[in-house]
């Protein structure tokens, strides 16, 4: 047995996966367990979960594969900080030391370069025998964009753009300028873009010089992330002619225009780079990963406007998913073979709770849940009826998804025909900005009737035009686009059955599907998380596997009591004593 643990950690979105004899047995992000969004710490809980899922313990592991090269990263960090090459502020040994100490691991730790891990996480899980490889993110070690070719068990990254020139950091700087959080708020910029006109495109183009082939250069006059403590410089403020937006402040038209312009420039550059890569490699397939590969609007254009016939985007394209690539590379190093020839077709790789376990858990809550065990058809009918009645549903079923998208395992579902659903979901359920769009889950067989979608999109990673005869205000973005997830029975039978039941009642084969969390929280992992999330939002219904809880069934005082129960800041101590996180200590 060859047992490999892949790890991403220490920047943002720490995660862990377990590969046993080439089978991807489990993968999860640490944030789901710690409830600290984008938790970067050593993924101790995810590590434990992965082993428990496989019925293994630490003595069964052959090696740990880490998604970065700490030596190269330290070199870049020292350069960026302007300190000497031996400055101890940046210790190349620290990541591996932390892994050993926190995880208790004493065996071999293999490290792989950041973009190589990204590329491997896409290519080796694509099922392609050969493909062009494009990885784009903020920064790993030095590389910020990599171009390559994968064939058989080999990956060749033949060109790269190096720090400080970075499309990810460019987008992040504009994200910060627009008052959103870097490393998690980029998709808000993407969502905001269709509300604006790309009036600032010329100015944004001054930030980045798109060169021939794979190269581009940022005009560093406008950025401040190398030496300073913020992403952009005063020159950017001057260039854009408006002050940076304060977080949580009103979104003005100018902000939408800047977002639209940024998005347009990003798409232009990515399209040019993808076209160049197609020409350079001659490959018919393209694999993408890195945080920028989560820009589903750009992805949709790459599919439509480049010569590539097939596109595979790693579902967990950000740093979290790079642990898969590290594990796949370690598998090749150990066995000499690629771990799998087939494509990753589902990402239900996290923990699950059986109906009996949920019953055991519900008893002490005293919640009189409806019990649908051994009555799946009744459950489906019950939930579908409620969706028809425009109720919002927390849907907790099967193994948790790996990656940023809720795909019908930890989802909030709603009726896409409801004209008010977007505002209601944004305001009272998700408690987030009103401009944020929602995505649909659609039965694959009917996807073409409602979307300009030529292929399956099981991971919700591309946008396309809505062309439905139905009015679908819940899922249609202001520019007429949507970001569908196609659903099939083999991938998620119960979820497919629910959508089919909704279709049978309404003629609409799709549902609004958004992640099961409220703003600022990670997606729920356990039934207890789901219950707390329901109490903390205005969800009408919660489906915990075979059990259904209606809002009125919740304990009378739960909402009031949660006021002091849920952490106000989401967790990390931010330099203060961590005691208060763990103890109710009053002194």
């Amino acid at each position: 047995m060859v047992c490999i643990v892949g790890l991403s950690a220490f920047y943002h979105d720490a995660s862990c996966c377990l590969m046993v004899d080439g089978n991807l047995v489990a993968a999860a992000q640490e944030e789901r367990f710690t409830r600290v969004k984008n938790d970067p710490r050593t993924p101790v809980n995810a590590f434990r979960y992965c082993l428990e899922e496989a019925g293994l313990d630490i003595t069964d592991i052959d090696c740990l594969a880490y998604y970065e090269s700490p030596g190269l990263k330290t070199e870049r960090q020292r350069h960026a900080a302007g300190v000497a090459d031996d400055d101890s502020s940046f210790d190349p040994q620290r990541p591996v030391r932390a892994i050993r100490e926190k995880l208790g691991w004493r065996g071999p730790v293999r490290t792989y370069e950041h973009h190589r891990s990204h590329a491997a996480s896409a290519y080796f899980f694509s099922g392609f025998q050969d493909a062009a490889l494009l990885t784009v993110d903020g920064v790993g070690e030095w590389a910020t964009t990599s171009y390559g070719y994968g064939g058989g068990s080999e990956i060749d990254l033949f060109a790269e753009v190096r720090f400080p020139h970075s499309l990810g950091l460019l987008y992040a700087a504009v994200t910060a300028f627009l008052g959103f959080k870097v490393n998690s708020g980029e998709y808000k910029v993407m969502g905001l873009a269709p509300y604006g006109d790309p009036k600032y495109t010329a100015r944004i183009r001054r930030l980045v010089e798109n060169k021939d082939a794979g190269d581009y250069h940022l005009n560093m006059e406008y950025f401040d992330y190398v030496r300073g403590d913020r992403m952009y410089s005063d020159a950017l403020i001057e260039l854009l002619g408006c002050p940076p937006r304060e977080p949580e402040s009103e979104i003005l038209p100018v902000h939408t225009h800047i977002a639209a312009s940024m998005q347009q420039v990003l798409e232009e550059i990515l399209l040019q780079k993808a076209n160049w890569l197609a020409e350079k490699t001659g490959a018919g397939n393209l694999c993408m990963a890195g945080g920028v590969a989560l820009n589903c609007v750009a992805n949709g254009r790459i599919r439509r406007e480049t010569p590539f016939r097939e596109l595979f985007i790693q579902p967990a394209a950000g740093d979290a998913g790079a642990c898969l690539g590290a594990a796949a590379l370690a598998h090749i190093d150990i066995t000499g073979k690629r771990h799998s020839e087939t494509a990753l077709d589902a990402v239900y790789l996290g923990p699950a709770w059986s109906g009996d376990r949920i019953e055991h858990l519900l008893v002490p809550t005293g919640i009189p849940a409806h019990d649908f065990r051994n009555r799946e058809a009744d459950l489906i009918a019950f939930v579908a009826e409620r969706l028809v009645k425009q109720q919002t549903v927390g849907w907790f079923h099967g193994r948790m998804e790996f990656g940023p998208r809720a795909l019908g395992a930890r989802s909030i579902l709603a009726n896409p025909l409801d004209p008010n659903i977007r505002d209601r979901l944004n305001k009272v359920v998700k408690k987030r900005e009103s401009f944020r769009p929602f995505a649909p889950s659609v039965l694959l067989d009917h996807a073409g009737e409602h979307f300009q979608l030529e292929q399956a999109s099981p991971f919700m990673l591309e946008t396309c035009r809505v062309r439905s005869a139905l009015k679908l205000p819940g899922i249609t973005h202001i520019n007429g686009s949507a970001r569908p997830q196609t659903v099939t029975a083999p991938q998620n039978p119960r979820y497919a059955a629910l959508i089919a039941a909704f279709q049978a009642r309404t003629g609409c084969p799709l549902l609004v599907n958004t992640s099961f969390n409220v703003r600022g929280e990670p997606i729920v992992c356990s039934p207890a998380d789901a219950l707390l999330c329901m109490a903390n939002s205005e969800l009408d219904l919660l489906v915990l596997e075979d059990f259904v809880i209606e809002r009125h069934m919740l304990p009378a005082h739960l909402e009031a009591l949660l006021e002091v129960w849920l952490p106000a800041d989401g967790g990390l101590s931010g330099g203060k004593s961590a005691v208060s996180e763990h103890l109710y200590t009053f002194v």
């Binding site: 101890s88 926190k102 330099g575």
Partner: protein, 637 residues
């Protein structure tokens, strides 16, 4: 006229044309602040206004909001004085010096006639976080490591003390400058010396010294248990030579030995040294907020310099109780007062303010009355708090029983609450989701946040004592406890992971390796004492199969015990190894069982010297690690 500014959480508003200060609504579970909603900015003519500041002791922790020091003081003043008084309570739990100084300054908007300050217990925890190896900032760790490298462990303590003194003096001087000529009454805090003990592993880099320390400690503890005071004292003094006074455990042994020998003054000195060496922020595993000699010195000096009246509680408590070493009569736990303690402390303030009545006259007046349900909840809260914060010292069982029996004797109806607490803990759910908590919320024995609802731990030490005491007090309820535990946590055919903070027998252990990084941030359980225990919940009808994955230094014996019976002696080494162990049903109890790994006192794992790690900005293990447990699963055979 200047624009009013907030006083702590009380915001300035205007009502009917009059300025008032209003606090946010009190959450259902309470918060850190006094519950008074509104404070008029203007004084009522003829009523003298006292503003009262301090930490949790001053806030009446575990009694609040039903009874607070401020309310008792106001009642006493109005009972004794010819003119009326009002006492405005600005005391709060988790108060720091800086925040208190700010609140004192802001409170001057209320034109107080008198200021009362009652603090000092928090200084060792909250005032010097950056001189702690547990502070998350790598730069703070580096400076800590540099001090250590320069002068050893004792220099770290000295640096912490120095910073504490500077900080306290600066904050008190700010108060002095702010209040001007306003009379400020200061209470010199006392702590529970008789009952509350620290049990800290020593911080010794040298392995031979560590081994010697633990060998001596085992011998001293054994002699103490056998009442061999002289032998215990001899060994404890040798311990002191090894740890150079940096380990409070040693002083506790010395104090206990002196007390057995009838030398209460010497015992008192040793106990004070224990508190002084329990410098949480700089060294300790998990210290308790307790004011030490340094605090009293700083307060005394600042009072002298500013001509503030000083109320010497240690002297008054000793005089009142007739005992040099104050204990549970006046304290619920490490520093929070019993009803008598609050009454007495406030009587001394009343006497000082009125300046015409001796404190003992006021103290002999009837104590404040509170409903029995509230007092019972306070005692139950004290038991919860004791179970969570007092380590495994000989007095713990006695102190737990003392609190629980007081709760039962005060109001027998608290029994249902005790069982609800057991159920809430046993489910493993956040208590807020349990029906048991919901029931409690609606009943007369409502537990608040300060009573430990928000606690994600089985709490087996507390549950065990509740179960034992209810056997006599309420047998029918007592019978429910093992069944509740078995229902929620009982082993089945699927393996249950016991090497999880939830099952650790000692609640404080969940914060190992260091308090600032809980066990949840490491995959394995690291063992800082030669014994590591877990709760094993199972019936007696079947054997139990254990699977242990652990490591320790090779060549030393390890013993796995269940309820004191040895069930296996696996051979461990520096690498992780897996061992299967069968626990015969004949050694099991129905419900609660104690599963203990006994490490050899010589089996400590090699770790990088802490000062070197700290100088690199890394977290460090200050304490020895006897072994590490990656996994300990149990299931019924």
């Amino acid at each position: 006229m200047t624009k009013p500014t907030p006083i702590s959480i009380w915001q300035p508003q205007t009502r009917n044309g009059k300025p008032i200060f209003v606090r946010p609504p009190v959450p259902a579970y309470g918060d850190h602040h006094a519950s008074r909603m509104e404070i008029p900015a203007d004084k009522t003519k003829g009523i003298r206004r006292v503003c009262f500041f301090g930490e949790s002791v001053a806030a009446g922790y575990l009694f609040a909001p039903h009874l607070t020091c401020a309310r008792v003081l106001e009642d006493q003043l109005n009972y004794m004085a010819d003119e009326p008084y009002e006492v405005i309570d600005f005391s709060r739990t988790n108060e720091t010096l800086g925040s208190m100084a700010e609140t004192v300054a802001a409170s001057l908007q209320l034109q107080p006639d008198i200021i009362v300050l009652y603090g000092g217990n928090n200084w060792n925890l909250l005032e010097t976080p950056r001189i702690s190896p547990y502070f998350p900032d790598p730069e703070a760790r580096k400076s800590f490591g540099a001090i250590w490298a320069e002068g050893g462990v004792t220099s770290v303590m000295e640096a912490a003390i120095h910073q504490q003194v500077l900080g306290a003096e600066a904050a008190l001087q700010v108060i002095a400058d702010t209040v001007g000529e306003l009379p400020v009454y200061v209470l010199l805090p006392e702590v529970n010396l008789a009952d509350w003990a620290a049990l800290q592993p020593p911080i010794l880099a040298d392995t031979a010294q560590r081994t010697r320390w633990y060998t001596l400690f085992e011998a001293a503890a054994t002699n103490l248990a056998a009442q061999n005071a002289r032998a215990c004292l001899d060994q404890a003094l040798k311990l002191l030579a090894v740890d150079e006074g940096t380990c409070p455990t040693t002083y506790r042994l010395i104090g206990d030995a002196w007390l057995l020998l009838g030398e209460s003054e010497k015992a008192l000195r040793a106990y004070r040294a224990e508190v002084d060496s329990e410098s949480y922020a700089s060294l300790c595993f998990l210290g308790s907020p307790r004011a030490g000699t340094l605090t009293r010195k700083v307060l005394t000096r600042m009072c002298r310099e500013n001509k503030w009246p000083l109320i010497d509680l240690p002297a008054i408590f000793a005089e009142h109780t007739g005992e040099a070493v104050t204990g549970r009569r006046l304290f619920l736990d490490y520093c929070h007062h019993t009803l008598e303690g609050i009454h007495l402390a406030m009587a001394t303030v009343t006497a000082m303010i009125l300046d015409d009545s001796p404190w003992f006259t006021i103290a002999s007046a009837p104590m404040p009355e509170i409903p029995p349900e509230i007092e019972a909840v306070t005692w139950l809260g004290a038991a919860v708090h004791t179970a969570h914060r007092l380590p495994d010292v000989p007095r713990r069982k006695e102190l737990l029983d003392h609190a629980l029996i007081n709760a039962l004797q005060t109001s027998f109806g608290i029994t249902e609450t005790m069982v609800d607490l057991v159920e809430a803990r046993a489910t493993g759910l956040p208590a807020v989701l349990t029906e048991a908590q919901e029931r409690n919320f609606q009943g007369p024995y409502r537990l608040l946040m300060q009573h430990g609802w928000k606690y994600n731990h089985l709490d087996i030490v507390l549950i065990e004592r509740i179960a034992a005491l209810l056997k006599d007090a309420a047998p029918a309820l007592a019978e429910r406890i093992p069944n509740i535990l078995l229902h929620h946590r009982g082993l089945g055919s699927e393996p249950e992971e016991l090497a999880h903070p939830f099952y650790l027998w000692e609640p404080l252990m969940q914060f190992y390796p260091e308090i600032m990084q809980s066990a949840r941030e490491t995959t394995c359980i690291r063992c800082p004492w030669p014994r590591t225990s877990f709760a094993l919940i199972c019936p007696t009808t079947r054997d139990v199969n254990l699977k242990l994955v652990a490591r320790q230094s090779a060549g030393f014996p390890t013993d796995v015990r269940v309820n004191g019976h040895s069930v296996a002696t696996p051979e461990l080494c520096e690498s992780w190894t897996r061992h299967r162990i069968r626990v015969p049903r004949c050694v099991l109890n129905h419900g609660i069982n104690k599963l203990t790994i006994v490490w050899s006192p010589k089996s400590m794992l090699n770790t990088e010297p802490p000062e070197e790690r700290l100088q690199k900005g890394d977290e460090a293990h200050l304490h020895p690690i006897f072994g590490e447990i990656f996994s300990l699963t149990a299931r019924l055979d």
